[in-house]
Symmetry: C2
């Protein structure tokens, strides 16, 4: 698996940009697996993107496989210890 080629990092761009990104990886790039990753407040958006891509645009062709969460602790600008959660949704060709 060439992970870097088929990873989508979800951020503040418009929702449909990411959905299109996922769909394009599976269709024009012929990926077997696409990993959708996000941190913090973008986690909900990443789940929406994976759901819409797999249930609406690639229905019957792609499914959400393993989902993993993690978190990183670090010091913020004010020197406070904060924890940020992350998610990885593995999307697989059926």
């Amino acid at each position: 698996m060439e992970e870097n080629e088929h990873t989508i990092f979800v951020g503040s761009k418009p929702f449909m940009n990411y959905v299109t990104g996922v769909v394009m990886q599976f269709t024009t790039q012929n990926a077997d697996q696409v990993v959708v990753k996000a941190r913090g407040k973008f986690i909900s958006k990443a789940v929406d993107i994976a759901e819409v891509a797999s249930k609406r645009f690639l229905e019957g062709q792609v499914e959400i496989g393993k989902i993993a969460t993690s978190s990183e602790e670090f010091k913020n600008k004010e020197g406070r210890q904060v924890r940020v959660s992350t998610i990885e949704l593995n999307m697989l060709k059926k």
Copy 2:
């Protein structure tokens, strides 16, 4: 598994209410498994709650197991078809 007894639905209450709820289920209620569920924008918060409960408050005792997402399509007040994502995070005693 008595699912209803050990399910936490994440909504708009303060973050720590839910973390305490998860921790209490494992400690005073002696649960082997707690399922953290959320919909839409509360998904990020649910992941944060599961991460903080397992990595900070119940470190070494509880881990996040299977995570599943889904989505439901329905008509909103304006009659438009909308899709709302859901998540279930299974937290397990080690």
